[in-house]
């Protein structure tokens, strides 16, 4: 991999030297490390790469090309197709009128209150879920890293929810949040806190004697986020634990010798070194959050206009229940752009660091 990246870099250097020699700025060429390295590399490249690369490419293509094409068709072909459909007025009957490219679906989106509500919910879910998962995962990882007994048991249980499907966890949490005798409300009742929570969280114009966690607009999104944190904080824990284990013990010892307290040692020395783990974990968590469709769908079916709408559920309802396929496609494109905003910078930085 390193070799390929080096080759890419020298190719870039060559390109730059070609450009700058045109512009007659000789000093820039001389100080350009990539350009000088390219001279040495060029000879080696021609010998190494004259025939074998082509030979490998042609001979090995039957193995890797079909999967690449299959994935490429299903992923990028489908997204491109989706973008085209979003520019039509396709309603699911017959063929989309591919010729007419109009942006009316996007205009409709801009003035659609339900869309903005779903978009707002998506962003809140994305940010709150990711931040709390990271914080909880980091805390648990640090606790587990203290040379404790039964470490395997703790790790196994903490990661267990991740092996369950969204549908299963949604079913379980529907019972936990149940208004009349779910776990939370029984707990509140036992602690004599139910009245207090109702006065704090009850939306205006609602008359209720129990907390309706999943149907009040004040609590619904928070309840979903809490359950998702339960399901995926174990993932953040695993990633952080791997990061912690990669830090040399000398760093801990050095901090100890300097007389730093445990809290200070973690805040000043250890946690700053977990940046890479935090970045990769948060990217994956955000993607989970964007895909939280299964959870919300299982929780309340395909009902429209609820407080729990996120872009993913709204897209599905538009395309497959209301048969507004073009509008659904347009929402899907917004969702895709949102995902690109998350993963684009991440992939770019990984590429820059030579990690790909």
């Amino acid at each position: 991999m390193r070799r390929i990246l080096n080759r890419l870099r020298t190719a870039g250097g060559r390109l730059r030297s070609a450009v700058s020699s045109d512009g007659s700025n000789e000093r820039e060429v001389a100080t350009d490390g990539g350009a000088t390295a390219a001279v040495g590399d060029r000879r080696r490249d021609t010998i190494r790469d004259s025939l074998p690369v082509e030979w490998e490419l042609i001979e090995s293509a039957p193995f890797w090309l079909p999967p690449v094409l299959l994935a490429g068709f299903f992923v990028y072909g489908a997204i491109f197709w989706n973008a085209i459909i979003s520019l039509t007025d396709f309603n699911g009957l017959g063929e989309p009128s591919y010729g007419s490219l109009d942006f009316s679906m996007y205009a409709r989106m801009a003035s659609d209150g339900a869309f903005w509500h779903a978009a707002q919910n998506t962003v809140v879910l994305l940010v709150v879920f990711t931040v709390f998962c990271l914080a909880l995962g980091l805390l648990v990882a640090i606790l587990i890293d203290q040379n404790i007994r039964f470490e395997n048991t703790f790790r196994t249980v903490y990661l267990l929810p991740m092996s369950l499907s969204f549908v299963v966890t949604a079913t379980m949490w529907a019972w936990v949040y149940n208004a009349s005798n779910g776990v939370f409300n029984q707990l509140l009742r036992a602690l004599n806190l139910e009245g207090l929570v109702i006065t704090l969280l009850k939306p205006a114009a609602v008359n209720a004697s129990t907390v309706q966690w999943l149907s009040w607009h004040t609590t619904a999104l928070g309840a979903v986020i809490f359950a998702l944190i339960w399901q995926f904080s174990g993932y953040a824990m695993v990633v952080f634990l791997a990061g912690l284990r990669a830090i040399p013990t000398e760093h801990y010892e050095a901090a100890r010798v300097d007389g730093a307290s445990t809290v200070r040692m973690y805040l000043r020395v250890i946690i700053p070194q977990l940046r890479a783990s935090a970045v990769s974990a948060s990217v994956v968590l955000m993607v989970f959050a964007l895909k939280a469709f299964d959870f919300i769908f299982a929780l309340r079916g395909d009902q429209p206009g609820a407080n729990l709408d996120i872009l993913a559920t709204m897209m599905y309802r538009m395309a497959f229940s209301s048969l507004e396929w073009a509008y659904g496609s347009a929402i899907a494109i917004v969702l895709f752009v949102l995902a690109l905003l998350v993963i684009g910078p991440y992939l770019y930085s990984e590429y820059q660091r030579g990690e790909l």
């Binding site: 193995f63 299959l70 489908a78 991740m162 395909d302 395309a319 497959f320």
Partner: protein, 310 residues
């Protein structure tokens, strides 16, 4: 722990105290991560009247213990479980094999431009599936039958009364479509998992084999494949969990009741206003059973797959 304490026994005592606190916190975590599962497990064995009157996470009383809810959930979900396995096992095997081959081409073989393919494939992991749903259903329900119609005279099979009866609404065909779809969308993540593994294989071995005149295929078959068996275990476990747990693709691609998968059956049991939580909890446990078993027996490999995703 801290430097100002002079008495070593004092320090030890304080360390012990802080460790007790540590274990208390960890046990609290245990309760936090287990209570919904435990609640579901307990509710599953309760009668209709007792689940409404008892504490959710308390075990059923002796006279309130019943297997009726479990039996009902099992009977409802069993066809879904079978369909899920029919769909998920081939999809898992295929995407793991494809991932291995792609990673081989993108790692150990040395060709220009592969970094671009790598970036595109890895980006494919993070695609929200909503962005492909409409074309996907168009592809399976319109384009493919249309193409099949074009070849109607050259293919045999479902051609009756002058019409090409493309069995797209037939149960097993829907499962097949779902399986192929999952196999295709599993390629990116499987490629990434295998790729990070293949990057650690020394290239000298492959160079040597090549000097001996080995072809790309024989290198894969004789060197790479045997070496990657442990990674196959990790990938298969991870990918099986992903495919089995999916609801979205199944909702779009499978609509005949006979071929609905387990997650769909459970979502149907749950959706809307739930009346009998003992049955839905039993359903949740039954539907979770395959991945729970995988997790219990291959927890380590599952964790590796999860961590390898980064």
């Amino acid at each position: 722990m801290s430097t100002e304490s002079r008495n070593p026994i004092d320090t030890l005592q304080r360390m012990e105290n802080s460790r007790i606190g540590l274990y208390v916190v960890l046990l609290f975590g245990l309760v936090f991560y287990l209570f919904p599962v435990e609640t579901a497990f307990m509710t599953m064995f309760k009668t209709q009247t007792s689940f409404a009157t008892t504490v959710p996470f308390a075990p059923p009383s002796a006279d309130g213990f019943t297997l009726a809810a479990l039996t009902e959930a099992w009977n409802t979900l069993r066809p879904g479980l079978v369909n899920s396995l029919i769909m998920a096992v081939p999809a898992t095997l295929l995407s793991a094999l494809f991932g291995s081959l792609t990673a081989y081409g993108l790692t150990t073989l040395d060709w220009r431009g592969q970094i671009a393919v790598v970036v595109l494939i890895i980006a494919g992991i993070f695609i929200p599936y909503q962005a492909v749903l409409v074309p996907l259903s168009q592809f399976w329900y319109q384009i493919l039958p249309g193409l099949a119609n074009g070849f109607v005279n050259t293919l045999f099979g479902f051609y009756t009364n002058g019409n090409w009866v493309y069995p797209s609404r037939n149960g097993y065909v829907q499962l097949f479509q779902l399986s192929v779809t999952h196999a295709a969308y599993g390629i990116p993540i499987c490629t990434l998992l295998f790729r990070s593994y293949y990057q650690s294989i020394s290239s000298e071995m492959i160079e040597a084999a090549r000097l001996d005149g080995a072809t790309a295929f024989s290198i894969y078959k004789n060197i790479i494949l045997p070496l990657s068996l442990p990674m196959f275990a990790v990938t298969l476990i991870y990918q099986f969990t992903q495919v089995y747990n999916d609801l979205l693709f199944a909702l779009v691609l499978v609509n005949s009741p006979g071929s609905q998968v387990a997650t769909q059956k459970l979502a149907a049991l749950t959706g809307g206003v739930i009346q009998s939580f003992n049955t839905t909890m039993a359903g949740a446990i039954v539907a979770a059973l395959p991945t729970l078993l995988v997790y219990i027996f291959f927890g380590e490999q599952f964790a590796k797959g999860v961590a390898g995703e980064t």
